[in-house]
Structure formats: structure tokens, C-alpha cells
Subunit: 250 residues, 2 copies
């Protein structure tokens, strides 16, 4: 049973990274990824704060971008205390743990994004996720420490695993697409839309792209879906080109 990957995006303090490693190992999570830690990596202070969770720190993987850090994963959650207006499904940590296990049962991998200590994940990072995790919390004091957030995710995971309930696994004919395939499709689509002058006015392109990507992310595309949709877009572009060429040519 593969536990979820913990991805710390732009964490600030090495001590917090160490405390996250400890919290992870308390609940059987061992794979930590760091995206652009503020003070570099490895960094003094992390190991002591981990209280012996060396198995986690020794295997940390370092990435420059969130997109790189999630490329090989099949499903991505973003933790947030605030609604982001991105129309993504929102789960409590126990519900998310159930979803993670359902995927792990068929060897599919999930990653969970955690933002920097002060400000949390950026909207662009959140946009990369399929769904959100938000903890039930006192609405008058809702800012949870980074390692505490990691702990709650690990705790719910371990509760589920050690409790031994039988999960119901929906069958999937094709696995959830790898992020890199989804993102390559979106890049292709947007390039075609650029050529077609769809993004208008151009200064709104960034927000239009994000909004449209959020539409696509809701699909939770399978590999087969990506191929089908890419084929459809390509047909619209190339088929039209061919028709126009033959209409106008010779």
C-alpha cells in the first residue's frame, strides 16, 4: 500500500522541514519532495528537528517547480484553508485518505501539496491540483502550522490503513493520466488557441488559461482521455487546414 507523497512547496525554515519529516514517519509516510526551499537543501537544522526521521530526509527529492515535482503522479491534492474560486472538489483529510487508498490499491500514486509557512500555496500551485484538502478547523483561528498540516494528513492515512476497513474500489478502464501528459495536452491546446487568436484581449490570457485549465482538471483525465481529446483538437486544426487547403489549392 503506497502512501501519498508529501510535497512541500517553497518551504522557508529547515526546522519545519525536519518537523514535517518526523510527522510523516509517525504515520508511515516516507516520500518527501521539496520545491525550491527558500534556504536551499540540504540545510542545517532539518535533521535535528526530525528527531531521527532520517529515512525521510535521506531520500528527499528536490525540484525547481511544482510542475516538475508532480510529473510522475496520477493524482494531486492541494491543502488550503481558503476557497480559491477554482471550482475544484474539496475534501476533509479523512475523505482524501480514502481516495488516496483507493488509487494506491491499483498502484496509482498521489501527491499532496503544502504551501510555504506564511502564505500557503499560490493560486498557480493550487491550479495544478485535481482537488483540495481543507481541515475542519476553528473558523476564528484557522492558520495551521505546516508540520501540523502534514501530521493531519498522515494521521488520517494511518488511521485508515491501520484500521483495516475494506475500501470500495471503482474500476477504471485506463489509469489517471500522468501530469506531464495532461500538461502537454494543455500546452498544445493553448498553442493552437494562440494561433486562432482565442485569447482576447491578450492581457487576459494568463487568467483565461488558468480558468480553462481548471475546467480540464475537473475531468481527472485518464491516459485514454488525453489521447482522445488531443486527437479531437488536432482534427479540428489539421482537418480544417486540409479542407481549406484543398478548397483553396490548385
Amino acid at each position: 500500500m503506497t502512501p501519498p507523497v508529501v510535497i512541500l512547496v517553497r518551504p522557508q525554515l529547515a526546522e519545519n522541514i525536519g518537523m514535517c519529516a518526523r510527522a510523516m514517519l509517525n504515520f508511515g509516510l516516507t516520500e518527501m519532495r521539496l520545491v525550491a526551499p527558500r534556504d536551499g537543501w540540504p540545510k542545517k537544522g532539518a535533521r535535528q528537528a526530525s528527531s531521527g526521521a532520517s529515512i525521510v530526509l535521506d531520500t528527499v527529492k528536490l525540484f525547481e517547480t511544482t510542475q516538475d515535482a508532480i510529473a510522475d503522479l496520477n493524482k494531486v491534492y492541494a491543502t488550503t484553508a481558503r476557497e480559491r474560486g477554482q471550482m475544484k472538489p474539496i475534501f476533509a483529510a479523512d475523505e482524501a485518505a480514502t481516495n488516496v487508498r483507493t488509487l494506491a490499491d491499483v498502484d496509482l500514486r498521489t501527491g499532496i501539496l503544502f504551501g510555504p509557512e506564511r502564505m500557503g500555496l499560490s493560486n498557480d500551485d493550487v491550479a495544478l491540483a485535481d482537488a483540495l484538502i481543507s481541515f475542519p478547523v476553528n473558523p476564528d483561528f484557522s492558520s495551521i502550522n505546516l508540520a501540523q498540516s502534514v501530521l493531519l494528513v498522515g494521521y488520517e492515512w494511518w488511521k485508515l490503513i491501520s484500521g483495516g476497513q475494506a475500501p470500495i474500489a471503482p474500476t477504471r478502464s485506463s489509469p489517471p493520466a500522468k501530469r506531464e501528459h495532461v500538461l502537454a495536452f494543455l500546452d498544445y491546446l493553448e498553442a493552437q488557441l494562440d494561433e486562432a487568436a482565442f485569447f482576447n484581449p491578450i492581457e487576459k490570457r494568463a487568467i483565461m488559461v488558468r480558468n480553462m485549465r481548471n475546467i480540464w482538471h475537473r475531468l481527472e483525465m485518464t491516459e485514454q482521455d488525453v489521447q482522445t481529446l488531443r486527437g479531437a483538437v488536432s482534427a479540428l486544426v489539421v482537418g480544417r487546414r486540409g479542407r481549406n487547403a484543398s478548397k483553396n489549392g490548385s
Copy 2:
């Protein structure tokens, strides 16, 4: 509904006391008692570590002995990772929260004991309790940070009180689209794909259409989504036509 009292027995570091205060307030616990804190009280460092949980720190009560600290309570739990051979009932944190609430319903008060950072509660402290709380945890790495233990107790309490749902829900900027608008979009898309000779071989058109419609239906499109996607398809078709026309014309 009166939450449980958090009692820190001989805590060592002021920072940890502050982090406990923060974890408490995150989940609606406000009453903290300290038994013989090693470095005295109040102590510099606690407030900053609390990240603004002043309501907790301002009302801390100080005691010399654990016995004094629990005098006015009706029920006492001790948190421990080890079985103490004291024949006390042992609960997970969620079960304990249920018990606490049952008592609170009839105005009875519960306290939960947490031991010092390094060694946990003494057997004498454990002996003062009615029952134990022990967290489900990785047996190979079971030492949980003090503030993390407090957090888990608070989390299970708040989950119970609040119903445990994620505290935020996705906003919908636009209502779910009417079926006729969705179907009109799909008709339009398929007509364009017909022109582009996408459905190939043609005898598979019916099943290809059905499969692609099933992809789109998963989107649960809003009116805004339908407009956006129709615009995107149209741009791919018309923009290409325009470009080809100007490229080939005159």
C-alpha cells in the same frame, strides 16, 4: 459544549507551550493548565510560537502538582505511547472525544494530561487518570511531538463537534448548464469533427461519439463553461479558416 482542558505536565520548552496553544485554538480548545513548567511561567518565546493564540496563553493556570491541576475535573485522560501495566481502559483520540462530549452534554468536565517532551508522563501521573489515550501510530517511529499530540486531541474534538466536513465549499460562479445548451455544444462540436474527418472509420462514429460525450459529461459544465468551450472550438475552426484563407488568398 465545553471542550476538554489541556494539561501540560512539566513541559520543558516555552516554544512548545506556545505551539500547543496554537494547536488548541485551531480546534476550539481554550483552557490550558501548566504543571511545574521547567523554565517557569510566563516565559519568553511562548507567545511568538503561539502565532496569535493569546486567548489561550492569557488565561493559562499554573499548578505545582498534577493532582492540584485536575482537582475540579470530573474525568481525566492521560496520553501515552506505551502501555503502563495499570489496567486502565485505552482509547484512540476519536473515541475519547466522543466520551468527552457525552460528559460535556451533562455539564461534566474532562481534562487530558500530556507529559514532558522527552520522557512522557510518569507512572504516578498516569495513575491519576481514569483512562488512557494512545494514538494509532507507526510502531517503528512512535514518538510524537508534544504540540502534535495536543493537535490530534483537538482535531478529533473539533471533527466531532463540527461534523468533520471540510470548512470550505467550492463556489460556483455560474449555474450548471441547461441540458439543451450542453447538447447543442456537443452537436456543434461533432459537426465540426465530421467536417474534419475525425470519425474514422465512419462505422465507428456512433460509439466514438458516445465515448466522447461521456468525457464531456464528466465536466458537469456550467453555462460559462459551455460558452468558453464553444468559443474555443469555434476559434480553432474559424481562426484556422481565416489564417488559411489569408495565406492562400490573393
